[in-house]
């Protein structure tokens, strides 16, 4: 299958972290992120419009968050991008190629970990198999700090550990696009913070494009190059976050942007 070099470990304060939001792919890691284009994509269910025709371009290697009310079509949008659902109109292009079926080199994390209870942790991470999958899966588990649990059943892990296994599974095949549908929604605050830092670190190290759906506006501002607000089936706000990483949740700029989005969300 795809060539696999060792998992990049990038501490948040390493050189890579100088990469800032909004600028798109940095030179060092260009080519490993999907450039995404949506052309007048719309979707409805049973005559009810969920997404009005929308156009959107997402830079390769950028981190984009989507926030909005529950039922606003955020999950639908991710499912369209992943190819799990087909749009009613329009086209979705991954690196300029129109999507047909499940998107290539794209993985997805959901609010539930969706691990196979009948496979050990290692086999869950290596679900797609392929040459050398055991070695690669073990490395992916090491990157999320769970290589010592490789031989366990998923059932014995905590919620946060399950999501870390799901993250390892999502990253083992070196995706160019990682879709995250509220993956931290069910975790406690402490575990959430750890996971956010882990996701940011792996994104910085690997250079894939990340699209995160979250109901936590602070999380969106802390992690993203760009925040989209999805409201009434359209993108009501498209905000570039141009702050240096790592970002402190308590920094005044972060809080300022957060309240700006919240104001729009609540009106």
């Amino acid at each position: 299958m795809h060539g696999f070099d060792t998992f990049a470990f990038q501490p948040p304060d390493s050189g890579q972290s100088e990469r800032k939001g909004g600028g798109g792919p940095s030179v060092a890691i260009s080519g490993s992120g999907t450039h995404l284009t949506l052309r007048s994509v719309s979707k409805g269910f049973g005559g009810r419009t969920v997404l009005k025709p929308l156009d959107l371009a997402i830079e390769a290697g950028s981190f984009v968050s989507i926030v909005g009310r529950s039922g606003g079509g955020k999950s639908t949008m991710l499912r369209l991008i992943s190819g799990l659902t087909a749009p009613d109109t329009g086209a979705i292009l991954h690196n300029g190629e129109a999507l047909a079926g499940i998107a290539p080199r794209t993985t997805m994390m959901f609010q539930d970990a969706r691990l196979l209870p009948w496979q050990r942790v290692l086999s869950n991470v290596g679900i797609a198999r392929g040459p050398g999958w055991e070695q690669r899966s073990l490395e992916a588990l090491r990157a999320v700090g769970l290589d010592d649990r490789a031989r366990e059943w998923p059932a014995v892990l905590s919620g946060g550990q399950k999501q870390r296994v799901a993250l390892a599974r999502a990253l083992v095949a070196r995706p160019h696009l990682l879709l995250l549908d509220e993956p931290l929604g069910a975790l406690d605050a402490l575990t959430r913070g750890e996971m956010q830092r882990l996701i940011e670190r792996l994104w910085l190290g690997q250079g894939f494009t990340a699209i995160l759906v979250t109901h936590d506006v602070a999380e969106a501002v802390a992690l993203s190059d760009r925040v989209l607000l999805l409201q009434d089936g359209t993108i009501a706000l498209d905000l570039t976050i141009d702050l240096p990483r790592p970002r402190r949740r308590t920094a005044s700029e972060v809080i300022g942007l957060e309240s700006k989005i919240l104001d729009l969300l609540l009106t």
Binding site: S82, L84, I102, T106, T107, M108, F110, D112, R114, L116, P117, W118, Q119, I127, A128, R129, W153, A155, V156, R169, A173
Partner: protein, 275 residues
């Protein structure tokens, strides 16, 4: 506080071991007592030989029958019928259950008809089966297969349908082909339900075989007991009953072993959920 707890647990250990031993012995006290009273009752003439032969004479009957090889022959024939009938009926039920579980068009075509047939008790058609097949092997195989078919069909179908959609969706994201999806997601997900079907099916196998061999047969355990009845050999009749019980128990143990092997994750899943 914790020191006291440790002391208490050290004290409790030997007592727990003796409780453990008692747990193994106590359940066998009543059966053992029954056997002894039964034997004594028969020897004092309190229970007549015709009503209930004593345990020791059943043992003697078993020994004398197996000296001629007769016992082994009849048991083997019955076991072969059970195994073959189970495999045919179970195989068909499993196959059709998978087919209808996986394919909507197949379900639409077949399921309603199968559900209608299900309502016919399979033992009720024994006269028909004898008319069709005579009293040869095929009649008994047909009955066993028919009896086993439905529990396995229904549980396989149900199992496949109950596999979580979210896991199938996850498999699609990771580009699993149909074969990998079947082996890694659908079949293991359906397995708890399939094994329930297997267990039911095994129970029905022995029940059907007892009836079929007793009503019409020229070999097998059922034939052996009916033959003995004509000669008033109550001990042989009782021996047949005991062998059926034993074989049923063995089949049940085999299923348990299978469940233990195939559903190791499941036990863990449940204990994990409780914790």
């Amino acid at each position: 506080m914790s020191g006291m707890g440790a002391a208490a647990s050290i004290e409790a250990r030997p007592r727990r071991r003796s409780v453990f031993q008692a747990r193994r012995i106590v359940p066998w006290l009543l059966p053992a007592a029954t056997l002894i009273i039964w034997q004594i009752g028969a020897e004092t003439g309190w229970i007549t030989m015709r009503t209930l032969p004593p345990p020791l004479s059943i043992l003697t009957a078993a020994i004398s029958l197996s000296k001629t090889g007769e016992l082994e022959r009849q048991v083997l024939i019955s076991c072969q019928r059970a195994a073959l009938g189970f495999l045919i009926g179970g195989g068909l039920g499993f196959g059709l259950g998978l087919l209808n579980g996986l394919s909507r068009p197949a379900e639409l075509t077949l399921d309603t008809s199968l559900q209608m047939l299900r309502n016919v008790p399979h033992l009720a058609i024994i006269p028909m089966v004898i008319l069709w097949f005579g009293i040869g092997e095929s009649a008994k195989l047909f009955l066993v297969a028919l009896g086993v078919f439905f529990p396995i069909y229904l549980n396989t179908f149900h199992g496949v349908r109950m596999v979580e959609k979210s896991l199938i969706e996850m498999g699609r994201i990771y580009h699993l082909g149909s074969w990998a999806m079947f082996w890694r997601v659908i079949l293991p997900g359906a397995m708890p339900s399939i094994l329930i079907g297997v267990r039911y099916g095994l129970g029905i196998t022995w029940l059907t075989l007892i009836v079929a061999e007793t009503i019409s047969s020229s070999s097998g355990i059922g034939y052996m007991t009916m033959n003995a009845r004509e000669f008033l050999e109550t001990d042989v009749v009782l021996l047949g009953v005991l062998i059926y019980a034993l074989l049923g128990k063995l089949a049940d143990m085999a299923t348990r072993w299978l469940e233990h092997r195939l559903l190791a994750w499941h036990h863990n899943f449940q204990s994990g959920a409780e914790a």
